[in-house]
Symmetry: D2
């Protein structure tokens, strides 16, 4: 199998590390460089210490154009800046894990450094929404973690045009969603055995969710009321959603099963679900129940995998015409 | 200080143990008996092992009428059965921690065993709702844990008559809420780092909540949409609630502060809150924010204290004309 | 690649489930049956719910002789009983995860049921000790979880003949080590945020450890003083060991690196280690320091993988002349 | 009851906060000032947020001499510096929670600032070792958390003069032992579900332990081999200790019971113990078993209470001739 040559920028952070964990076992992947300004020269396992014994890759201060795809794992706002400052050769595809191109999908960059100026358009990389477009895309804006879990809970309803009432959402995320930098809310003594609400009604992922729902159901204009919680676990996002909806439970189940029939990672469970079922996997599991005039949907994902680096690899697979599950048949941690 | 003579039935379970923890340090309390069929004869510290060194009390198989108050810490359904089978002398007040008399507050028991038949009426023991009635009550139906956290989030709105729209509620509870008996959902390997939804839209506490809201706002008929979660911590309940409401944030704050001004355990926080602030205390902390046309309220309580045994002692204090906080100025565990 | 036909007995428990998780992604494995008396007829994902979407395998009440290898994942004592009651055809290799054949490696079974009587000998399946013997074995006694972590910490010293003083060992295990059946010490409300000692100086794995050390250093007779702890996490074992030893630190490092040079899963770390580095992997990481006249070694493993089902697959790979790492390049969960 | 006027320096940290939690409910305590440079002017509950509703105390930038006792809750090294720079009036007793005077108990300070120069001698404040000396002391060096748990496990043996062999110790501490400042090893994503060894054989508390053992058993010179672990919980220390010792189990039990008979907070348990039995209490529970020629002792304490601020209050009680348990009959959190 011809290997895909891969560059990673920002590879010392959480999503960068998770990407490396996936790619070193991916049969078609070859990491050409794992760029990190802060860690250049160190072995990857000196930072992502779980990889001791698995790879002798080192972080590099240099990048190269001898790659097929570039993953950007830098902080929000820094991806666009990076690309403007470091024009990427035309033949290289880009998968950006930040939010920079999700809602504003066009990048223009000036000529310079031996490069002609140009523009790049980013396709929103949620395969359950845009798989065909992803296959032919040059650049991907990888979705946010909350955005993934919530969209997968709602897309079939939008596709059926029945998303006509306000949606009530609670979503609880693991601590890895907050990144590597220490902060008061990631201190163990504070976070263990604790729960707290943050950014109620104002989470930044609502915008990309709304765009996607409008894509499937033009004119969608109901409210998405989202209460995000900080959870006292490290991996995973569980979403509960409900709305008034005329579909009966059997019809709703049929709708979801039909919508996801050809999607390998997203499944409707016949029985209630719990967050750990998907931890350390690229899957999304869904469950639904009808109560009175309301339909309730539960969605579970791993924020670092289906919510970030796993989905990025899934997008890479699609970009390069590989089976979508290549390198992503992961052993769940289960416990 | 004259001591209150206290009997406890069902004292080997979680709420019974928590009650003993409180009463052995309560300056006006004397535990006359801690009844347990299964553990009779053992020292209390053999079951509630954290009490080693704190008390030499033993579980007894016998009860006695030489008490002032009887706490019932038996399972739901068993309190009424116990009282029907074991008529309690007239002079004894009853505080029942089960749900048996919350919605159906009257007990009738037949003559027999040297007792005349009779009836007892139970006052719903939420001091922030019914303090004056509790002070003169003979019998108390102690509220449920979810019910306490949710009511304290909503009572001021009902008192102001502005609870006129559907309420959207998420509430996550610690594992001690599920009691002592092992089950698949209390197995550590399953529950650690996990979250799951249970009894959505159908939790049994909704009934007592609705009754209380109607008491303050007659005709209240909006929906209470409650998604309960099982949390991966042992103590505490965090509730987030929101509804459309015309009050602006300042007016809402003033309303809550005014409503709880004379209640020692319930406080409105000026800044956002997190669950551990109240763990191992009898307090409820509240926080509110306005977003668009919606008012959001967060409520935190310890399910075993303000949600169960702490509130039961608070009710005892009121019944016996003690300062409400007697024996309940607890050191928070904080971490 | 010709597939290995595999039967599993006891596949509804923790080690059985973990084995299935590994084998469904193993390129040379085909699960012919997953036997379970209690769950026969159900889909595997109805019990091991994290496998929803990954496999349509069902538990069966039947076994078959059309297999190449049989894994026994039954409780201690039941493997020998099972094999005595159900003679296994000659051509089938056996990998037993119980302790039944670790210290008493011979099974004799009577003629009957169309089978001639016979005997089977079990090789102790620790590849870092017995790799060549495993490759030509017919039957494998898979090591215990504590036994694996402790032996890997000590084998190089025994091989060098310098294990001449008492060894002081502390080992803390995750809750999955205690199995699926609920018990007071696996109740979440008890185990979360808790630690406790059990079976000090008397853990059943000491016997197999002592046998292995004697195999490498005949006459080894020092004490192994082991204090096992129950940890408040679900996966993993961390061992700290120390003993008086004349090797200086550089010589000790060289000894360990040399001993494990050709073993893909066991590595000496140049810096201190922490348990989560190996969770959800088949690896063992080691670290050593010298203090005064003492050498300290730390060892970390995942009790369900290198300590059980992962090592069982590693043994299967060796039995069938596959690369030892086949199907075992697992993405660490890391967090 | 006449109140003790209390000053606290360093009151915004973990031990300062815990001290405030205790003192606001202590019947004989009045906090005259809670000094904090960084938080001066804020309400205490803005930093120790669990105290919202419990106290209206504010942090102050000023100290005062109108106090009876000064608690120093500053970092190691800073207590001596503080006292040298800020001579404390003669009538004020000092309880220092740092390690500055544990091994070097004399402070000399120059004349200046209206003060004569002078010296202060600090008594090591472990009541189970030095209760009579504490009662008449002017200044107290409060013991370290590991030091407390380990000494309470060994003091009776030293008192009996039978501590004649090397002691093997493992001690695991909660995250609050590491203080409030964020660090890689207190990041939730790292510490949750994790264990790791730190400072093996070299923990700074060994020195004060050795001093105390020599005080009871002059000439004590055996090794204390201590492997400290970072635990994945916030409160508590569990120690396991063993050594060769000629005492049989009954004699050992009798020795421990006798030694601690008059100490209200330290108890020998007749059955095995687990860490959570003492969390949120000032107690130490001990358990012992004999195995072969070895005696094993387990000790559990709460690092912030008996290991720090609780013991400081116990010392204050002794200094001011109060019942030792005043303000320290704490409700265990138990779960």
């Amino acid at each position: 199998m011809k290997k895909i040559n891969i560059g990673i920028v920002g590879s010392a952070g959480y999503t960068g590390g998770e990407l490396i964990r996936l790619l070193i076992n991916h049969p078609a992947a070859h990491i050409a460089f794992a760029h990190s300004q802060s860690q250049a020269g160190k072995y990857v396992y000196q930072v992502h210490t779980d990889l001791l014994g698995d790879t002798d890759l080192k972080f590099s201060a240099e990048t190269s154009e001898d790659i097929d795809v570039l993953f950007l794992c830098v902080g929000h706002g820094n991806a666009r800046k990076y690309l403007e400052a470091n024009p990427v050769a035309d033949h290289i595809r880009i998968i950006d894990l930040s939010q920079d191109f999700r809602n504003d999908p066009n990048l223009e960059f000036p000529a310079g450094g031996g490069q002609a100026g140009g523009a790049r358009h980013f396709v929103y990389g949620l395969p359950e929404l845009n798989r065909e477009a992803i296959k032919t895309a040059r650049n991907i804006a990888n979705p946010g973690c909350f955005a993934t879990g919530i969209q997968l809970a709602l897309l079939p309803l939008a596709a059926a045009g029945v998303l006509n009432n306000d949606v009530h959402l609670t979503a609880t995320t693991g601590s890895t969603g907050a990144g590597q930098a220490p902060s008061p809310t990631t201190h163990f003594s504070w976070r263990s055995n604790n729960l707290s609400v943050y950014k109620p009604f104002g989470h930044q992922h609502l915008k990309e969710i709304t765009r996607s729902l409008n894509q499937l159901q033009p004119g969608f204009g109901s409210s998405l009321n989202l209460i995000p919680y900080r959870g006292d676990f490290s991996r995973g996002i569980i979403v509960s959603a409900y709305l008034e909806c005329a579909l009966d439970e059997a019809a709703a189940r049929e709708l979801y099963e039909s919508y996801y029939r050809n999607h390998a990672f997203t499944h409707l469970s016949p029985v209630n679900i719990d967050l750990k079922q998907v931890v350390n996997t690229n899957k999304c599991l869904l469950y639904l129940e009808r109560h009175g005039d309301k339909l309730m949907i539960i969605s579970i994902t791993d924020n670092l995998l289906k919510g970030a680096s796993g989905q990025a690899v899934q997008n890479m697979n699609l970009l390069f015409a590989l089976d979508e599950q290549t390198g992503l048949r992961l052993k769940p941690s289960a416990f």
